[in-house]
Symmetry: C2
């Protein structure tokens, strides 16, 4: 299913950097549309991120409950974090899982890498499944505060359906897990 996409591509004519922050950069770009007209695109550049579906020996997943200032509420999410400059995504995933939950995993599998908000941001999220877990010690960043929950498949699905889970990557990974369990006959 290789498609010719030339008729869809926007050509960048100009890019102005509005803000270079600690984590994100905002540029405003002028593009030429496929019909020759011009348009403006507001673009957030982000270092990329990782998230982990960690499955315990009790067949539960680890979720973290964390205040997210952007949304002004706490959210239940799969453990996640930003990539450090030059960091390999799998290394980052292992680091984030251990920092946020205290668990190390012996088995890692890459699931999918997806953009979270392609309408305005380049954040690419690499997702992993981690199994064969060992509990060490939670080691949060100085400015990080979160609770860790252990959640069954039935609970996780109910939490998506009633809105207690309201985070895109977590919804995606919970449903991936349900699909995988179906394959395994669970």
């Amino acid at each position: 299913m290789t498609q010719n996409v030339d008729h869809l591509i926007e050509k960048q004519l100009n890019s102005e950097t509005i803000y270079e922050g600690k984590f994100i950069t905002l540029t405003v770009q002028t593009v030429e549309l496929p019909n020759g007209k011009q348009a403006t695109r507001e673009v957030i550049q982000h270092p990329g991120a990782v998230t982990v579906l960690a499955i315990t020996a009790e067949d539960k997943i680890l979720l973290v409950n964390q205040f997210r200032k952007a949304t002004n509420r706490t959210l239940l999410e799969t453990p996640a974090g930003k990539l450090e400059p030059g960091e390999d995504p799998l290394t980052s995933a292992k680091r984030e899982l251990e920092e946020e939950t205290g668990y190390q995993a012996a088995q890692w599998k890459h699931l999918s890498s997806f953009y979270t908000s392609p309408g305005f941001a380049d954040e690419l999220m690499h997702s992993y499944v981690a199994t064969d877990l060992t509990l060490l010690k939670q080691n949060l960043d100085e400015d990080e505060f979160l609770d860790v929950l252990h959640v069954t498949a039935d609970e996780a699905e109910a939490m998506v359906l009633d809105g207690r889970i309201a985070d895109a990557k977590t919804v995606a990974l919970v449903y991936w897990w349900l699909r995988e369990r179906q394959r395994e006959g669970k």
Copy 2:
């Protein structure tokens, strides 16, 4: 599972607006952490968005292939768009589906509302399932260029697993669909 989250909450001390654009606003906020220390949060305010898993009578879903300047590539996504000011999400979902694909749907169901990038943005995405479709006429915005694809469940799952689908909301909705089909014995 009501939880006390007081020990997680960040208190906003200050907010500076860096940029107010056509679609997004960037603020840099100073917060007081649960431990009394201060930290900086870079926050993108977004009007919110909708996305639609539209299922045809042939048991296929509609995906749109669209160039996304933020990511500098085309992405296969469920039809989606930003909320207009004051617009009801379901009204927006109906409008976006018809504009982008030319289809109207007689049956609508709200699936879930989720944040797409809660680490730095408040974009809340309302997702719907649309069935009982009638093809009218694609009616794109002046600066919108996209192709519409009809994709089976098997194809959609393969496209997630091999990376051809690389968009968080679309991954979530494809796996929701696979789960629903399992329930229906498909």
